[in-house]
Symmetry: C2
DNA sequence: AGACATGTTGACCGCAGGGTCAAGTTATGG
DNA sequence: CCATAACTTGACCCTGCGGTCAACATGTCT
């Protein structure tokens, strides 16, 4: 790879990282190129697709952030504290970093490294949940699918609340957590989602085609 | 108004009602015209703006649906049952009717009749919440702003879950309600939103400009 | 029936997005 | 220092959106 190409790739990566984190994973590729100070043709040249760019720029970061949160949760002596702290931490990430808010939505199935991060996070969440359930502090009917549903619905509003300088999303998380403790538990009206249902749900989630 | 214009207006209203309820209040106006079988020029001619169309086609419907839910809630002898049923009912509306899911987002400030419906609903929610708080069954720190936050974040996923034939959103509502009963209550990390903050939050919510 | 007001139409504008590619430029190795 | 492979560029394609308007059609009233 020629030196100038390397320079351009670095600039593009930096611009992409900035914009993804400022405005989410759907920012226009032309705008990324604009901010990097190169032609959008060059972006397509060097990366080929938004997914490739995401994988290069966000996947590691997401892996670290989510991995840290999960590790901290499992390291916490009190399973409930671990679980609650994990949820709060992930929500915090969603509120402060739009890119991370978009990670869990699985809306970029072709970003393979990112999808791997999603899968790992899901497994980690299962462990965290399991531990808290076995402990008796987390209601037994709560599943990782339920957590994912909550996080996915929470992300957009948390993001704009944070952008508007508001903490209000923390309240929503607080209510939710109070509903997840065993003493509060009340029978649920329906079964948890299967992984297929989750996928379907999240991907269809926002980019509904026009037909 | 000429007879053909009246016919066209009726067709447009019908098409708009259909599409709003199928896909939400942001469907393209050209598509509404297409489905109505008239030129989009005619739509602009007869209605002038999306907001006018919304006001004509959705405002009443929303007023009735939300009003019924509120009335039923206040008529319920048990304040907690009334509150919980209200939340569940509104969520059901959001899940089954994308147009109603968009109503509470306040993303169409120029649709004045719709905005009035929002305001009324908010007041009604305050009464319902108040009654349940005074009853001692609803945690005292829960406000109408919190409910609005929940509903706004809930709507999109509930919609796509329902579209995918899934009931899973009911679980989320169940967890949330369990967190709202007084016995579950745990101190909250931050203050509720002011009306201004709500407005800001919801309107910025999804249509973030590119700049 | 005819004339005029009232409506309708679709081409057109500007914008922005994704994506491609021939032509031009520049780094690099011999 | 130059030949060439490697790279960049921006014009161009497509799509779809909101919105306007001159030219045309049609209902309506006398």
């Amino acid at each position: 790879m020629r030196a100038d190409a390397q320079r351009n790739a670095a600039r593009l990566r930096a611009a992409a990282a900035d914009l993804f984190q400022e405005r989410g994973l759907q920012v226009s590729l032309k705008e990324i190129a604009r901010r990097a100070g190169v032609s959008h043709g060059t972006l397509y040249n060097l990366f080929g697709s938004r997914e490739a760019l995401i994988d290069e720029v966000i996947a590691d970061l997401a892996a670290v952030r989510l991995g840290d949160a999960a590790r901290a949760a499992l390291a916490c002596p009190d399973p409930w504290q671990g679980f609650a702290g994990y949820v709060a931490e992930v929500c915090e990430l969603q509120a402060t970093d739009p890119a991370l808010g978009d990670v869990l939505t699985r809306r970029f199935p072709d970003a393979s490294r990112l999808m791997a991060v999603c899968d790992n996070s899901y497994s980690a969440a299962e462990s965290i949940i399991d531990r808290a359930r076995r402990d008796g502090s987390l209601r037994p009917d709560f599943t990782a699918a339920d957590l994912l549903f909550f996080l996915a619905s929470h992300a957009p509003l948390a993001r704009s609340a944070a952008a508007a300088g508001s903490d209000s999303w923390r309240r929503a998380v607080g209510f939710m957590l109070d509903g997840l403790r065993t003493p509060a538990a009340t029978p649920l009206p329906t079964a948890p989602m299967t992984p297929q249902q989750i996928n379907h749900l999240l991907i269809e989630g926002s980019a509904t085609p026009a037909g």
